[in-house]
């Protein structure tokens, strides 16, 4: 009736206005959104507040001086800031060209099915937990870097370069899938027009498609950068953790071949436990988290700002794992038929262009190197998986899955680690689902365009927040302030909060794709807005809920950083009997600890076996999501 009271987006402008100004659905939606936004704001505020003591102690020197010696109460974090930037720069220099090159091949040269297969493989691999990357880094990459650069007289194989290369592999899927999406979003007609003007296929891509997709590609690289900046666990294991090692020969390879420390790797280390209880030291440590948050936040919001000016109801693909169907759907559905005809006609014609010989070779060389990028990307990933299963296979037996740890990890199995991980992700799902549904409703049903964009930014920010900061937040709030000690519930809540953006985005995408006539029909039947939500919108978008949840769970299952201080211990926990002081065992933490501490040589095999088991769980979750995702892709293509 009084429509101004009920803000509506154009998507659901046909939803009937309610008879009253509020409904339980609205309240539910507001609460969920408030929890999400409150968490983001609360975390920033908490970190800022707890950092104050070190700022009054060290002043600006906290970020500009290079002397971190906590025993002497000296806290100058410059080398960690530089280390973070260097490691990320190495990662980007490798991952950006390879990822974009591979994306050019998948989006422009591979036929639909093959492209889909490559994308699916890459997205499955994107779910490999960072602790597994770390393990591979310790055993293969360290040695590789150490031997390759022997002539430089390295201190050891733990270098900025090692960490950067490891991160490059980790962020490659992000660069690749998001660049591919951006390229696919350029209407096919543009390329055909370019071809019609006599440009070669490659030139059409390089001079027409790529420039048009540049914003999307830049955003892809920025999001990948955000992940690189914040990675704690994998970097911790291979960066050498040397404080105050500021580069002295800036324009050589030397700084990359030294050990170093990043903000995130410091936060993953032993100082966290030592610092708590000493307000100054603790402030210095939390300050590192705050700096990290500011750095990652800036990069993430920049990416968001670049890509979001037009789209209102949803943040544009903040997650590497989120379904990527929306934009292709839009572009292909508008002029689908005429495009298809044109493509068909063009395909029948002989090569439009006659290139000079040199151009032709250049052309072949470029396409060849892009193809090499694709092979490299998929090859490295597959080799990793094979290596893990190969080395872990001897440990995998029924006993391994049904017994508990014995002899400090050297004997027995990982039964309670599996139980713990399952408990954590189940809790995460229970925490995340209602909140994500509430936020998605707020995004697509209740909020106006600008407010929805603001909420999208919050989701973007949450998605970009490094997982180690969830751990730090949980340590302060759950472990210490609420006095829970280590508790499965704290871990579950933190992982649940982490999953919110993934699930919400998947839901919103689905809601956006909902045919308008469904809502019109609901209105015709006289349903109220709340009734429309629960009887039409939610049931029709459940595919998004399912895929989003599965992908979120796959990520949650492999995370170490959020739970290492808050929820999980190495040995002795079984089924929790309460909340306070009720930790669980978990798979990722088991790997993280055994990778650093294992006395018995038999631990090695168990370690790889655990990694293989964790991979199986993660991949299984992603695989279950696959059919739904495939169907969405099919719909997008056939639309």
């Amino acid at each position: 009736m009084n429509s101004p009271a009920v803000p509506i987006t154009d998507t659901y402008s046909v939803v009937a206005p309610d008879r009253r100004r509020w409904s339980y659905t609205l309240v539910f939606s507001v609460i969920g959104t408030a929890v999400t936004a409150g968490f983001v704001v609360g975390m920033v505020a908490l970190f800022a507040w707890q950092t104050l003591p070190v700022l009054s102690h060290s002043g600006l020197g906290y970020v500009t001086s290079n002397n971190w010696h906590y025993r002497q109460q000296m806290f100058g974090a410059l080398s960690m800031i530089v280390g973070t930037l260097l490691v990320s720069a190495v990662a980007l220099c490798v991952a950006a060209p390879v990822g974009i090159g591979a994306a050019i091949i998948t989006s422009e040269f591979l036929p639909g099915r093959a492209r889909l297969m490559v994308k699916i493989v890459i997205e499955l691999l994107a779910g490999i937990p960072s602790v597994v990357y770390g393990l591979v880094g310790i055993l293969y990459l360290r040695t590789f870097v150490y031997d390759t650069f022997e002539s430089f007289d390295l201190h050891s194989g733990d270098t900025i370069l090692t960490a950067g290369l490891l991160l490059a592999v980790m962020i490659l899927p992000t660069v690749m899938t998001l660049s591919d999406d951006a390229l696919r979003a350029v209407p096919a007609l543009q390329r055909q027009a370019a071809r019609g003007l006599g440009l070669s296929r490659l030139s059409a891509v390089m001079h027409v498609a790529l420039p048009q997709a540049r914003i999307g590609v830049i955003a892809a690289v920025l999001l990948a950068l955000g992940r690189a900046l914040g990675e704690a666990i994998a970097v911790f294991l291979v960066v050498g953790r040397q404080d105050n090692n500021l580069p002295t020969q800036p324009f050589t390879l030397r700084p990359l071949l030294e050990s170093g420390q990043t903000l995130a790797s410091k936060l993953g280390g032993a100082e966290i436990n030592i610092a708590y209880g000493d307000p100054l030291h603790w402030a210095a440590v939390v300050g590192l988290g705050l700096m990290l948050l500011v750095m990652v936040g800036t990069v993430t919001l920049l990416a968001a700002a670049l890509t979001s000016p037009k789209s209102a109801a949803s943040p544009p693909q903040p997650v590497e794992n989120a379904p990527k169907h929306a934009r292709p759907t839009k572009t292909h559905s508008t002029k689908g038929t005429s495009d298809a005809l044109l493509t068909a006609r063009l395909a029948q014609e002989p090569a439009v262009t006659r290139l000079p010989k040199r151009r032709k070779w250049l052309e072949r060389f470029s396409i060849g190197s892009f193809a090499a990028c694709t092979l490299l990307a998929t090859g490295v990933m597959l080799a990793m998986i094979l290596a893990i299963f190969y080395r872990g296979s001897s440990a995998l037996s029924l006993r391994f899955f049904t017994e508990q740890i014995k002899l400090v990890g050297a004997d027995g199995g990982i039964f309670f680690n599996i139980i713990g991980t399952l408990l954590l992700i189940t809790t995460a799902l229970c925490v995340c689902t209602p909140i994500a549904v509430a936020v998605a409703l707020m995004q697509s049903v209740y909020l106006r365009e600008r407010a929805a964009r603001g909420l999208g930014m919050v989701l973007y920010l949450l998605n970009g927040t490094p997982s180690i900061l969830f751990g730090l937040f949980g340590l302060v709030v759950f472990v210490k302030f609420l006095g829970w000690g280590k508790s499965w519930l704290a871990g579950g809540i933190l992982l649940g909060l982490m999953m919110i953006p993934i699930v919400t985005v998947a839901l919103v995408e689905r809601m956006k794709a909902l045919p308008k006539k469904y809502i019109e029909a609901a209105r015709g039947l006289g349903l109220s807005k709340s009734q429309t939500v629960w009887s039409v919108i939610i049931p029709q978008s459940r595919a998004g809920l399912v895929t989003g949840s599965l992908l979120g769970l796959a990520r949650a299952a492999g995370e170490t950083a959020p739970i290492m201080f808050t929820a999980t211990i190495f040995a002795g926990a079984m089924f929790p009997r309460g909340i306070v002081e009720s930790p669980v065992l978990s798979l990722p933490y088991h790997i993280f600890i055994l990778a650093q501490d294992s006395f018995d040589p038999r631990v090695g095999e168990k370690l790889w076996g655990t990694a293989a088991a964790l991979l199986m769980i993660v991949m299984l979750l992603s695989l279950i999501a696959l059919p739904v995702r495939l169907r969405i892709h099919e719909e997008a293509v056939s639309a």
């Binding site: 436990n273 209880g277 002795g572």
Partner: protein, 282 residues
């Protein structure tokens, strides 16, 4: 909506119930015999025991100080600072065995003939005055020193030996290693490597334990006899810490570790048991 209610129900059922759980945290060195003792007690006495090794000895001390655990594992003495930090806690050390910290080197260093270092040489290496093995009788190769990370008992023993007091150790920044396996793994895989490590982890195949050359010019190896008679300077006691005298489950646990079977576990993991210390007299 329904999910919310389910969640609420879970919360209600899982209301804080403090069960009889014995929680232990601390040193990875002490963890080896302790964890095995816990496995035996879990099986034989159906005790619920949780063990973690976060933050090494310092982690054990602060976890006990914060009341998060009943037993802290530590490979160093409680200091005045610890007592100041936790004034309400009455730290009680129960000595369960003895361990030596060795300076371990990679194979190439050992094969180049480096067998021992003096206290002065260690100080010079630690302060960056000596950076090449040729200055201490080895081949011409840069010394790749891995420092044990802060809070580790191993580091405290080293610093205590070299500087008399861990607090007098100058601030330095080397690549750091945490757990024992990490230290061993990195030393084994790096040419010219040197680090501090619990002596029983030196396998004599990939990593080798150096002797310490004393003022009399005598090379003392970290062997049981030398540790027991305190001739080897870098040894350390292994403690189980409690708040006040051990009681309840903590007492059952500590009594077991002190029993002949428990002491056998201490020896099994390469440390000296208490009777070995006493027999050789100190």
């Amino acid at each position: 909506m329904r999910t919310w209610m389910t969640f609420g129900a879970i919360l209600a059922i899982a209301a804080p119930v403090l069960a009889d759980i014995l929680k232990i945290n601390g040193s990875t060195t002490v963890n080896l015999p302790t964890a095995e003792a816990a496995e035996i007690l879990r099986a034989e006495k159906a005790m619920t025991i949780q063990i973690d090794t976060q933050g090494g000895s310092a982690g054990g001390i602060s976890a006990l100080g914060d009341g998060q655990v009943q037993i802290g594992m530590s490979s160093k003495h409680i200091t005045e600072q610890d007592k100041l930090k936790y004034p309400s806690v009455d730290f009680v050390e129960t000595h369960i065995g003895e361990d030596a910290v060795a300076m371990i080197v990679s194979k190439d260093v050992w094969e180049a003939g480096v067998r021992s270092l003096t206290r002065e040489q260690l100080a010079d290496i630690y302060e960056g005055k000596i950076t090449n093995w040729k200055d201490v009788g080895g081949a011409d190769r840069r010394i790749a020193f891995f420092n044990k990370e802060p809070g580790r008992g191993t580091w405290e023993v080293f610093a205590h030996f070299v500087y008399g007091n861990a607090r007098k150790a100058p601030p330095v920044s080397f690549p750091e290693v945490g757990g024992n396996e990490e230290a061993r793994n990195k030393v084994a895989g790096t040419r010219g490597a040197l680090s501090q490590l619990s002596s029983n982890w030196a396998d004599g195949k990939q990593v080798f334990a150096l002797s310490i050359k004393n003022d009399a010019g005598e090379e003392v190896a970290p062997l049981a006899a030398n540790i027991a008679n305190r001739k080897y300077p870098m040894s350390r006691p292994l403690f189980l810490l409690t708040n006040g005298a051990p009681s309840g489950d903590a007492k059952v646990f500590i009594d077991f570790v002190l029993s002949p079977r428990g002491q056998e576990l201490v020896r099994k993991h390469g440390y000296l048991s208490l009777d070995q210390m006493v027999v050789d007299g100190k």
